[in-house]
């Protein structure tokens, strides 16, 4: 791969073809229409084409590839969740991530850093023990570690957090990683495109036509397209899509904000999370500190940023790292998180024949991108849920069978 870069120095013209074709017009009909060219929609298209030979597929994107939450997240990948169904699912995703750069021949900057979730209270520590035991039982590297271990991994940290909320211990997850989020979308998009999938950017789905309880096509701002299968992979736009087919769901939208500092010399090689302080932080390969906090406290369909967020995040970050007081915040942004009451996704078939949901990804769906592509493509190709997503069906809210991932997903990605 690095040697291949020499071509760029030798050639006057840009030696690589563009990553995606730009199909000019929509066809009259497709076997499958996927709404949303985020990581999830593109991964689904990729595996539909690669594993099931279903290539008459259109991915429709109102904006640009990866411009939704895929390009806005803080890129943390891990599998130390709380419920067995969650752990099994996310672990498959981590496994897929490890080989993805090779599969795509594209560097995703997948970087295993180790992931610490701090406990500042006895009750947090006991939840962590519970998580560690579930994780170990499922074969995941996960353990509770003491203050000394944390200090060794991050000598710059003030373990007492200014004195008012001392860290008592942490859940440590060695495989915890970060990756370049745009490249994940590009890799899946290029792979799908090369196998014949059409990706239509700047094409918005405005309605879904259902006849006799069955999907027959989608209306777009570029005309009507016939199809018997529609996959909604639109994260923060999910309620607008489910409204089109008259489906009620528990999904509500709240903004999640993030920011980066100016680039610093590398000093932080782990991922640190404190749910109590509402801070999580890692250092990118460019040297920026990538940081996020808790959800905004009320429903809002907007990606606006606020000063409240940077103010409170900076305050808490300084509790952990007083020496950062002179560092500037370079950029801040927000995404719309599609939240569920049990902090688990809503996936699979729905009461409408041919309408599939990949949603409820809230603040935790980037890490699930590969496994969502795998399981959703299986579900669409076979019209039957993949076993890994059976616990995540929409019907669980009718049957009072919630998943209960809150302890692991609420803040700490």
């Amino acid at each position: 791969m690095p040697l291949g870069l020499l071509r760029f120095a030798m050639s006057k013209k840009h030696p690589e073809p563009r990553m995606f074709r730009e199909p000019d017009a929509l066809k009259a009909a497709y076997d499958v229409v996927i709404i949303g060219a985020g990581g999830h929609g593109l991964a689904c298209a990729y595996y539909l084409a690669r594993d099931y030979g279903i290539t008459n597929v259109a991915v429709l994107e109102q904006g640009y590839i990866g411009g939704g939450n895929t390009g806005r997240n803080t890129t943390i990948v891990r599998s130390n969740y709380l419920t067995p169904e969650g752990v099994r699912f996310y672990d498959e995703s981590v496994r897929l991530y490890k080989d993805l750069s090779e599969d795509f021949d594209l560097n995703l900057f997948y970087s295993e850093r180790g992931h610490f979730t701090f406990a500042h209270t006895d009750s947090a520590l006991s939840t962590m023990r519970w998580r560690a035991e579930v994780n170990k039982h499922m074969g995941i590297e996960s353990e509770v570690v003491d203050r000394d271990t944390i200090q060794q991994a991050c000598p710059e940290l003030d373990l007492d957090c200014g004195g008012h909320l001392p860290v008592m211990g942490a859940l440590y997850h060695a495989p915890g990683a970060v990756a370049r989020h745009d490249a994940v979308a590009w890799g899946y998009g290029r792979g799908a495109d090369q196998r014949g999938v059409e990706i239509h950017q700047k094409t918005r789905v405005t309605d879904i036509r259902v006849e006799g309880g069955k999907v027959v096509g989608v209306e777009t701002d570029k005309g009507f397209v016939r199809t018997g299968k529609v996959v909604s992979a639109v994260a923060g736009f999910t309620p607008r899509i489910t409204e089109m087919v008259g489906l009620r769901t528990p999904i509500t939208i709240q903004p999640l904000q993030a920011c980066v500092t100016e680039p610093l010399k590398p000093w932080l090689d782990t991922i640190l999370v404190s749910a109590t302080l509402h801070v999580y932080v890692s250092q990118s390969s460019r040297g920026e500190l990538v940081m996020g906090s808790a959800l905004d406290p009320y429903e809002l369909h907007s990606t606006r940023s606020t000063l409240d967020f940077t103010e409170s995040l900076s305050g808490h970050l300084l509790d952990m790292f007083p020496f950062l007081s002179e560092i500037k915040v370079n950029r801040q942004w927000a995404g719309m998180a599609d939240m569920t009451p049990d902090f688990a996704p809503v996936m699979g078939r729905t009461p409408i024949d041919g309408f599939y949901l990949d949603s409820g990804w809230g603040t935790w769906g980037f890490k699930a991108t590969p496994v969502c592509g795998k399981t959703m493509s299986y579900t669409v190709a076979n019209d039957r849920e993949h076993e890994l997503i059976e616990p995540f069906g929409l019907s669980r809210f009718e049957n009072y069978r919630l998943v209960g991932e809150k302890g692991a997903a609420s803040v700490g990605h």
């Binding site: 769901t249 999904i251 809002l300």
Partner: protein, 89 residues
């Protein structure tokens, strides 16, 4: 800074308020079916629009109703609850 008009205390900064969820009518738990009750407990009108919501002024303990555009984050109206109000969601 975002300002909300509390019906009792007037214009106050957002930080003084907590969101109390959508204003909704509860079905009678004695007669509702499991499906109706589940729909009430879990499902929400998640799409954007002008919604009626409960808000709470933390400093003075006042609960009130706000009509808010959830796409543009504009508070259009705030008023005290009147038991005759019907939910509109």
């Amino acid at each position: 800074m975002k300002i909300i008009n509390c019906p009792v205390n007037g214009a106050r900064p957002l930080q003084e308020f907590a969101y109390g969820g959508p204003f909704r009518d509860m079905p009678d738990p004695a007669t509702a079916s499991d499906a109706e009750w589940g729909d009430y407990v879990f499902n929400r009108d998640g799409a954007p629009g002008v919604k009626r919501e409960w808000w709470y002024h933390l400093a003075s303990g006042v609960w009130f109703v706000a009509e808010r555009d959830t796409l543009r984050d504009r508070f259009l109206k705030t008023y005290l609850y009147d038991a005759g109000d019907q939910a509109n969601d």
